[in-house]
Structures are given as C-alpha cells and as structure tokens.
C-alpha cells in the first residue's frame, strides 16, 4: 500500500468512525482536537484502519510512538509540560508543530490533541513496515 493509499484509508476510517462528511476531514485536521474524537472514537478509528490496511496500531502503541519510547519523567517536566527532549521528538512525529513556540507551554496531556490525520497515516505507514512483535 502506498503512502497516499494509506492516507486515503485513514481519512476514510476517521470519516466513517466519526460520522462526518468527506469534506470535513482533511490531512491537516486534528483528530481529537478539531474533529472532536473521544477515546472510544479513536479505538473505532484504529480498528477501521486495521480493516482497511491490514496494519494493527493499538492505542497504547500510539502513545508509545508519540512519546518516542520515553518515560513520563523524560517526556514531561515537573510541571507536566513537554520537556525539551520531548519536544525535539515531537517535531519528528508532528512536524507541523511550531516547537519553538511551545517551549515550556505544551501540557504533556494535550499532545494527543495535536495529532492530525496525516500524522496518524504516517504512523500507520511506519507500523506497516515493521512486523508485529
């Protein structure tokens, strides 16, 4: 499956899971932010993606990928903001973020709200390239 096909599949999964019209979902749409997906919706989306692409991404894996395998203590500061090393990693998985503007001001628990449809498609593509372990 090409990256474009994966992106189309993720768009379809998001659209169907959330009951939206096709033109409401773009690659730049943030899934839990702008599109308002909740936890049960995110599960629905991941299951639909698996059905469409054959690639399984679990909710816990998603958090692990976004956090780059860092512990909570590494990823967040004592004030629960994303740390410098956490921001550096986020730049690789959410390249649309203006990291310089988020220093000491991005709550760790709000990171998921910045995940876009395109970001999720990238994650699915990368998981597809790695055999399930």
């Amino acid at each position: 499956m090409t990256e474009e096909e994966t992106l189309n599949a993720v768009c379809e999964a998001v659209t169907d899971a959330l009951g939206l019209d096709e033109d409401e979902v773009t690659p730049q749409s943030t899934i839990t932010g702008e599109l308002g997906a909740e936890s049960i919706d995110l599960l629905d989306i991941l299951f639909r993606i698996e059905r469409l692409t054959g690639t399984r991404v679990q909710a816990g894996d998603l958090a692990n990928y976004i956090q780059g395998g860092m512990t909570d203590e590494e990823f967040g500061t004592e004030n629960d903001m994303v740390s410098a090393v956490g921001l550096a990693h986020l730049k690789t998985v959410m390249p649309q973020l203006d990291i310089d503007a988020l220093v000491d001001s991005l709550p760790a628990e709000e990171v998921i709200s910045h995940l876009t449809v395109a970001n999720l498609a990238t994650i699915v593509t990368r998981y597809a390239a790695v055999p399930a372990g």
Binding site: L43, N64, G69
Partner: protein, 137 residues
Amino acid sequence: MQLYQPADDRIRVGVDVVHVDRVSRFAAEHRGRLDVVWTPLELAHGAGRASEAQHLAVRFAAKEALLKALGTGLGPGMSWTDIEVLNDRRGRPVLKLGGRVAAWAAAHGMRAADVSLSHTPTIAFAVVLVLASATPV
C-alpha cells in the same frame, strides 16, 4: 471551609461520561474485537442483556475516569483491559488493575481506589476516587 486532605496522602478524582449509543454502535461494528476493551468477565456479565450497551458504556466510563484520576491517558504499553470493573458479592462495583496500568498506579503511589457508576438508557457516568501517597514510591 477548609479542604480536608490527609497529610501523607493525596486524593484524586476522575469522572467520565459516555454516550450509550456510541458504545452500542462501536460494539455492533467491532463485535469480534470487544476483548481489546473489555475483559472476558466484563463481557460475560453483560452478554445477552437488553442493557448490554449500558453495561459496556458505564464500564468504559469507569476506565476513563480511573485514568483521569491517575492523571494519565492510556499511556505507552497500557491496555484498556488492564482496568477491570467487576461487582462484589453485594453488587457494588470494584476496580481491579493489572498490566502496565497497575504498575503505573503503584509507581505513582496509588494506595486505594473506589468507583461509582450510574447510567440511563442514553448516558453512562462514572466517578473514580484514588487515594495516593503524597510521595510516590
């Protein structure tokens, strides 16, 4: 008025509301994957009931409420089935933790948790209270 809080402990509360029809649609769409979210005991307890969707929805709300009380989302390596909502002999709901959620809770000083559930045919609601040591282990 002064908030009572034991000096050595912190009290954390988490609440969550789930639309029953959303869980009903999810269950219908992914019938073969429900064991990713609910444990065999949770599924067995609600199976065949007319109110199965309410049963599943209120347990999902409890899982979410616990994570909120702990101050984490479903973090790296955690599974929804790490949190199990069972009933004691008197029918009172109780939480049973396992896997990464149990490890996370222990590492952050959780000493006890209690849960209360409520639902209507359309809305499921859960409140979880967590008692944690002020100084995590």
